[in-house]
Symmetry: C2
Subunit: 314 residues, 2 copies
């Protein structure tokens, strides 16, 4: 029985990493600039970029004796500053939005960089992040309570029917993308207020507890590469969340065993949320080393995590 348990949790992780091996294969072009690697662009999207205007170009790398060493996609080299690049890319993305290539516009800039704290090469509309295969960051918070016997209960949100992505699926108490120019701690406080009506004083007690990460190729050949900053917040037993922005249909407090069973047996949870909860189950000992598959499961939770600070020699 234990064998089955972790196999199915591993399946949830695999669902968040579908097709990841192809990201570094021939169908994707590396997105580079200033000798650095920023992302991965599928051929089909590269074609859209290259047909449009001269903002993006394919560059060929050659050795000293002229033999070919590969190629990549990058911005026109006349774009010298992050500001100029951001503006030029925004114009390209707007046009592709009008053509229906980029959908789900968010009007929110994500940094394109070699690491979370590194200087952005440019800022990119959030909806375009997987088209360019850049690493996107987010904050995810498990809100839980504990009874006198130490039994844990997790707050479960059901996403609103009108949410653009994953309507009616189960979710964390609080989660949100990490935009440019805001610390993770402040972003979490803001999202706590908006999504669950958690006052700032209480929200600031949340404990950062690590990361979960994955890489997948979506049905539309986009490379979705996410790093989620995981937080735990132990809430008073009389706390009642109240959604403020209409993105949540309802909240319920579930015993941890029910949460674990739901993840094991169904796809009711939004897939990346299932991953963050598996991480919670690992950190709180509900999944433990005497279960077959433990080492592999724990290791798989940070599959997409390594930041690409590697300098290229081109």
């Amino acid at each position: 029985m234990l064998l089955d348990l972790l196999d199915q949790h591993k399946q949830r992780v695999a669902e968040c990493n579908v097709g990841r091996e192809s990201i570094r294969g021939p169908e994707f072009l590396e997105l580079r600039g200033n000798g650095l690697l920023f992302g991965y662009v599928h051929e089909s999207f590269a074609e859209h970029l290259l047909l449009l205007d001269d903002t993006f170009k394919v560059y060929f790398v050659r050795s000293k004796d002229g033999s070919p060493l590969g190629h990549y996609i990058g911005l026109d080299q006349s774009l010298k500053t992050p500001k100029a690049r951001t503006k030029a890319v925004a114009a390209v993305c707007s046009e592709l939005r009008e053509k229906g290539v980029i959908t789900g516009w968010r009007d929110e800039l994500y940094p394109v960089s070699t690491g979370f704290h590194n200087k952005p090469y440019f800022g990119l509309e959030r909806a375009a992040a997987p088209h360019f295969g850049i690493i996107a960051y987010g904050v995810h918070m498990n809100g839980y309570t504990e009874d006198a016997d130490g039994n844990k209960y997790l707050w479960v949100a059901r996403r609103s029917a009108t949410k653009q992505t994953w309507p009616l699926r189960l979710d964390h108490l609080v989660a949100g993308g990490q935009p440019l120019g805001l610390s993770c701690a402040d972003n979490l406080v803001k999202e706590c207020q908006e999504e669950a009506g958690i006052p700032p004083d209480l929200a600031r007690r949340a404990t950062a507890a690590g990361t979960v990460s994955y890489e997948m190729v979506t049905d539309e050949n986009r490379a979705k590469r996410d790093v989620l900053f995981v937080y735990d917040l132990k809430l008073p037993s009389d706390f009642q969340p109240k959604n403020q922005d209409g993105e949540v249909e309802s909240f319920e407090l579930w015993p941890l065993a029910r949460v674990a069973e739901t993840i094991r047996k169904s796809n009711e949870y939004k897939p990346n949320v299932a991953l963050v909860i598996i991480d919670f189950l690992v950190r709180h000992g509900y999944i433990h080393p005497d279960q077959k598959g433990y080492v592999e499961l724990v290791s798989s939770l940070r599959t997409g995590c390594v930041e690409a600070a590697s300098r290229r020699t081109t």
Copy 2:
């Protein structure tokens, strides 16, 4: 200031992964059997094995048309059962112990397998594990207390001056290798008793909290590949550890900030213990995402974690 902080913690992780890139390079031979990969043997140790008798052999892999596809080291194919292999390898190891090639004999068998819960191919003397580059497992427990304001204090052990490895370095409250035939939970209870006098009822309250792993090449060209099962145990404030086996010189209760500073500024901690404590600092929010280097640091804590269940085509 924050920049420096995580850079130095990252340095501690790097010290546990020294030379890891060479393990899959030409100086090491893969240790294989039944088409499976079990470890990595350095040329210099392979020479000892091959000179001795016919227990170990080098096998050459060829394609259908006879062209060479590489080679590996493995047991003589007449050794059909785990028991026969264990016995033959034990004889080889004893001889190499007498020759002074294998030092630090423990008289304890580690399983040689493709994964923690997989059937062992054979059992191997613990002291020989890095010579064969197999993954070794251990349990490491952080014992801590919490005051009324939620401030955490960590129990710090100083290793006895007569310990074979890392004498007088700082250590966890409890840690031990994971032998064949004992569950992690039971091993932890046993080690809790031996190393810190923690009674079983209290020890069983420890929470499994994940893994830490690393791979290094030692000064003697051995591939040390460890997966540590990490546990946290919150202790009553009046608990006083008492070492039973003479392996600990003294215990002290330190504020977490002092522990973190000691790891940052010195090599006082046994290197792999520093890694497990960095994981504790990450899980308990003392290291957090708004510090530069966070994503890379968190991801680096499981560098050596992936189990090698991959079947070879030979």
